[in-house]
Symmetry: C2
Subunit: 440 residues, 2 copies
C-alpha cells in the first residue's frame, strides 16, 4: 500500500518558479510530498516538472474559483507565485479550507486583515518570502538581532539589492539585462517620491532627481555599484524594530554609470506612461526627436556626455527603423526596446547582488559593517533571480510541513526561528553573505 | 397683473459668478427675467445678488437631486458654475426637464454622449463658455474663419492665456497672484506630458522639462511674457478645423521669469502630490531641506541664480516658522504658502491676458498676425477673471432666451452665430482684441 503523501500546491510556473519546483522535486521523497503545479500555460508547468513522478500539472485559470478550491482542498500547503493582486483571493480560500500559504509578494493591508482568523485556525500565511522582499529581511534581521544582543547602537542602515548580469555575460554598455518584470524596469521610481532618513532628517527625492542622487557601493571582487532610493525606506523602521534610527535607506543596485544614462530617458520624458501616441510610420529617430526641443547633435551633446550618448545610441534611440509598437506610451516603446536589447541569451548568467551597510557604536567605538551576497545564475532558466526568490520559499515549505515553527498568522520572515534555518540552508546553494567590519 | 418672467437658474455663486450675476441683474428688466441663485454657502449668493428685487437665493446642496430638480423645473435656462465633475448630473436633469444649459467647463465625453437627446429635445447645452476655454475659442475661430475666407493658408497657430496681476498691483517678485483654483496653480502641468506640433513634427514635453521649454511673447504696452505648453494642444486641430496644420501650440502665460523659478520647485520635488508626510514640529526651512541632498547655501547657489533664489526666499522656503499644515503632501504645503503670499488684496486688480499668433501665407506673401487682449480687473471681487468667465455666459443667456441661435445639442462657442455677437458685446466691457500684422 502506498504511503499517503502531502500535497504541495504551486500556483504559477513562470520564470521565478524554476528553483522552487526543482528543490521540492529533489526533496519529494524525503518530505513525502506530491507536487501539484498549475499555470495558465500548462506547458510551462510541464516543462518545469519534467519527467518526475512526484509531480503532476494542471491548467490553472486563476479566475476559476471552483477549480482553485478543488485543487487547494487536496493540498496541505499553497505556494502562490501568481501576480500580487491575486493573493488576497487565494488567502481567503486558504482560510476557508484551512491551508498554509506562502507568497513572495509584499504584504498588503487586505492580507494583513486576515491575521486574526489565520491565527485562530493555526495557519501560517508567510509573505515577502522571496529575495527582495525576503532574503533582505532575513539577512538584515540576523545582523540586527546579533548587534542588539551585543549591545551595539545602530545608527545607520543601508540596504541595497539589484537583479543584474554576471561579469562574463555582461556584454552591453548599460551593464544590465532584464531578470524580472520589464514594465517595472521602465517605470522604476515613477510611482512617487522616494522617502528615506539621513542623519536624523527625513529626505524626499522626486522621480526627476532619483537617478541623479545615487549612492556608491563597492562589492568585493565585483567592483563599483550605485544605488537609487526605493519608494519608502521608512516603512522598515518599525518592521526591523529600529525606532528612531538616524539613517535608514533602502535602494536598488545598478552597475556604476547606469543611472546617469537612465536619467536622460527620465529627463527627456521617454519613460512617460501618461500619453498614448500613434507611432505608426515613425522611425525610432523621429520618436526620440519628439522629446527634444532641438534634435541637432550639438544640442544633444550639450545635454549628455559621450559615454551616455553611446548608451542611448546602443539602445536604438536614433535608429532609422520603425518604432517597435504602433501605438502606446513612450514607456511602452522603451519597454519594447529593452525587452529586445536587454534580454538574457540562453547561456547568459544573471547575478543577484545584495548589500547591507550598518554603522554602529559598540563599547565606545564606531564601526561600519558591510554584509554582501552575490549569486550568479546558471543560465537563462536557472537564474540567480529564480534561485533567490524560489529557494527561500521552497525551504519554508519544508519547515512548515515539518511543523518546526511556532509563528502563526500573517507573518514575514523577520523571526529568528524562520530566518536562521533558511539562511543556513541557503549557504548550500551559494547564497551566502560575507561580512567586513571596519572601525571608523 | 404681473408679467410672467423667465427664470434663469445660476448654480454656484463663487468668485467666478460676480460678473455673470451682475450682468443678468442689470439686464433683468429688459430680458424679463428673474434670477434664482443657489450656492452651498447661501451668504455668497446673497452677497452677489445684493438688494435686487429681480433675484432670489437658495441654499444649494448639489447632492440633493430633489432640490435641484424642483429649482430647475421653474427655470428656462440653467447656468452651472459648479465643479466640472457635477455637470453630467446637471445635464441629465436638464434633459429630463427640457432646460437649456450653459457651463464654463471642458466638454466631457459623458456630456458629449447627451448630444443626440439634447438635439431631439431642441435644447442647447453650451459648454466651454468662459475665458479659457471660451473666449479663446471665439476669438480664434473669428480669425480662422476670416483668414480662410480670404484664402489664406494658416501654417502656425499659437494660443496663450494667463490669469495674472495688473502692473499697478504687481508687487511681488514672481509677478503673479492667484485668480483661480490654487490647487491647480500648484499642480499645473503635473497631470501628464504636454503634446503639441511644431513644423510638422509632434512634440512631447514631460513635466520635468515643462517650465524650462517656454516660449516668449511680447504683449503691446505690457512687456514680455512667457508661455508653457498646455496638456494637449493637438485636440484643437479638429476642433478649430485646422487639419494637418504644421504648428499648433496652446500654452499658459506668465510674466517673464516666473517659469525658471517655478521649475526649481518642480525639480526639487516641492510640487509632489504623492507622498503624505508629517510636518508637525517642522520649520519651513527644514521642510525645504527635506528635498535637498545638501542644504548648504553653496549647494543651493550652484543650483539656482540669485534672482531665482530671491523668489524662493520670498515665498518663505527658508523661513524659521512652522510649516503651514501639519500633515499632507509637499504640494499641499506649497499651496498653503502661495494662498497666503499670492493672494489678491481687496484693492488688487488682476489681469487676464490672451494672445493668438498666426503664421499664414496669402497671395504669395507670408504674414504673422498677433491678436491679443488684456483686461484688468476692478478689484478682488470684480476681477478680470470673473468678467472674462462670466460675461460670455451671461450674454449667451440673453441670446438663448431671445432664441437667436440655430445650433442645438451639446455645443461649443466655435460657431459664427455664437461668437460674433458675443465678441461684439464683450467690447463694451473692454474685452477687446487688438491685431498686429507683419509681413515676414
Amino acid at each position: 500500500m502506498e504511503e499517503k503523501k502531502s500535497r504541495v500546491l504551486i500556483l504559477g510556473a513562470g520564470r521565478s518558479s524554476a528553483h522552487l519546483i526543482q528543490y521540492l522535486l529533489n526533496h519529494a521523497t524525503e518530505l513525502g510530498i506530491h507536487l501539484r503545479v498549475g499555470d495558465a500555460d500548462v506547458k510551462m508547468a510541464e516543462e518545469k516538472v519534467g519527467a518526475s513522478t512526484d509531480a503532476s500539472v494542471f491548467e490553472c485559470d486563476a479566475e476559476n474559483e471552483n477549480l482553485l478550491e478543488s485543487e487547494m482542498a487536496h493540498a496541505e500547503i499553497v505556494v502562490s507565485m501568481l501576480p500580487a493582486f491575486m493573493h488576497p483571493k487565494i488567502a481567503k480560500l486558504c482560510l476557508k479550507l484551512h491551508k498554509h500559504l506562502i507568497t513572495p509578494s509584499y504584504l498588503s493591508s487586505e492580507m494583513m486583515s486576515m491575521d486574526q482568523e489565520a491565527r485562530a485556525k493555526n495557519l501560517i500565511f508567510l509573505n515577502e518570502m522571496g529575495v527582495d522582499p525576503g532574503i533582505d529581511h532575513m539577512s538584515a534581521m540576523k545582523i540586527i538581532h546579533a548587534l542588539k544582543q551585543k549591545g551595539a547602537d545602530i545608527h545607520a542602515f543601508y540596504s541595497l539589492t539589484g537583479g543584474l548580469i554576471a561579469p562574463e555575460s555582461d556584454n552591453n554598455p548599460w551593464n544590465y539585462k532584464i531578470t524580472w518584470n520589464p514594465r517595472n524596469v521602465v517605470l522604476a521610481g515613477a510611482g512617487g517620491t522616494a522617502h528615506y532618513r539621513e542623519n536624523g532628517k527625513d529626505k524626499l527625492i522626486p522621480y526627476q532627481r532619483l537617478f541623479e542622487r545615487t549612492m556608491s557601493v563597492e562589492i568585493p571582487n565585483y567592483g563599483e555599484f550605485e544605488g537609487y532610493a526605493n519608494r519608502d525606506s521608512m516603512a522598515y523602521e518599525e518592521l526591523y524594530d529600529l525606532p528612531g534610527i538616524p539613517t535608514l535607506y533602502r535602494g536598488t543596485l545598478r552597475k556604476k554609470g547606469f543611472s546617469q544614462a537612465w536619467n536622460v530617458l527620465v529627463q527627456w520624458g521617454l519613460t512617460d506612461d501618461t500619453r498614448v501616441m500613434n507611432w505608426d510610420q515613425m522611425s525610432m529617430q523621429a520618436f526620440t526627436q519628439t522629446f527634444l526641443p532641438d534634435d541637432s547633435l550639438a544640442y544633444i551633446k550639450r545635454e549628455v556626455s559621450n559615454e551616455v550618448l553611446y548608451k542611448l545610441q546602443w539602445l536604438g534611440l536614433w535608429d532609422v527603423v520603425p518604432v517597435p509598437i504602433k501605438r502606446g506610451t513612450a514607456a511602452q516603446v522603451i519597454q519594447a526596446l529593452i525587452e529586445e536589447r536587454w534580454s538574457l541569451a540562453p547561456l547568459d548568467r544573471d547575478m543577484l547582488v545584495m548589500c547591507h551597510l550598518f554603522d554602529y557604536a559598540l563599547d565606545g567605538k564606531h564601526f561600519r559593517m558591510q554584509s554582501s551576497m552575490v549569486l550568479e545564475g546558471e543560465n537563462n532558466r536557472y537564474t540567480a533571480m529564480s534561485a533567490t526568490v524560489g529557494l527561500p520559499m521552497a525551504i519554508a515549505v519544508k519547515h512548515i510541513l515539518n511543523d518546526s515553527w511556532k509563528q502563526r498568522g500573517v507573518i514575514l520572515p523577520i523571526h529568528q526561528e524562520i530566518y536562521e534555518p533558511i539562511l543556513e540552508e541557503l549557504i548550500k546553494f551559494n547564497i551566502q553573505f560575507t561580512e567586513q567590519i571596519k572601525e571608523c
